[in-house]
Point group: C2
DNA sequence: CTAAGGGTTCCAGCGACTGGAAGGTCAAGA
DNA sequence: TCTTGACCTTCCAGTCGCTGGAACCCTTAG
């Protein structure tokens, strides 16, 4: 399989696949003209990484998951730990974003939004009276 | 005021303040030894930017807000528009993160987390059966 | 013979900083 | 006066996870 087909089948752009090779996720062989040749297992790996990334795991977490995936002796508790830690981080982000949104919607509600210059949003940013938190 | 004091009072690191000067947010004067001299208004600007950033506005949005803030003739509807657009983006991010979290917690629940190698999390990443969405 | 459509490498840029090196300046203390 | 240390300066490189582009090679079809 050439890189284009792998890209198509995995849904990961060729640029990204080459990048993943750079950072050691893959080690595709080359044929005599220098083209990368991918096996099915490599395609699987890529798909695996793609899914993990779409779940918000960062590259290092993907690396860890990949290592666990390839280690037939691993216990599932290791994977569970990574996933749980990741859920914690996601929840922290969600909380941050909700706080932001609530503050902003509150300010927006208070803002007339007409042509007059009074603007609670700017006032808040300027004076720093926290609406929340 | 030297940069250190501004950093202290605004809560923004000196590195970041210099960066903000680079990208045209500030134009502090210099004294004869080359040190930046900040006025109170500059401190206000920095605090303003800091708050906007902490609300998740990106640099360009901050630039727009700053321009509106400094334009005494502006109508508040412009500001409101930016804020509303921003809320939309925040809500999209929240939705994404909630979907991620739900998928993951679902998988975690299904994962025994013991020393046995069966692991629904890895299975899911590998086989790509979407638990959600 | 040429053109299109693969593939290759390498370098640079995104956003928003952050770290570090190498050096200039200033105030206090011995 | 000298030294120490804290502060300031500039500039360059790195972060993360790609992404774009240039310049080039390979293959196939017309």
């Amino acid at each position: 399989m050439n890189i284009g087909e792998v890209a198509e089948r995995s849904g990961i752009p060729t640029k990204t696949i080459r990048y993943y090779e750079d950072i050691g996720f893959l080690h595709p062989k080359r044929n005599e003209n220098g083209y990368r040749i991918f096996e099915e297992t490599e395609l699987h790996k890529l798909t695996f990484i793609g899914r993990a990334r779409s779940l918000g795991f960062n590259i290092e977490e993907c690396r860890a998951l990949l290592a666990l995936y390839e280690d037939k002796e691993r216990g599932s508790s290791d994977v569970k730990k990574i996933a749980q830690q990741h859920v914690k981080e996601i929840e922290a982000k969600i909380a941050d974003l909700i706080a932001m949104r609530d503050t902003l919607t509150h300010l927006i509600t208070a803002c007339a939004g007409d042509h007059r210059p009074d603007c609670p949003i700017l006032d808040n940013l300027s004076n720093g009276k926290r609406e929340q938190g």
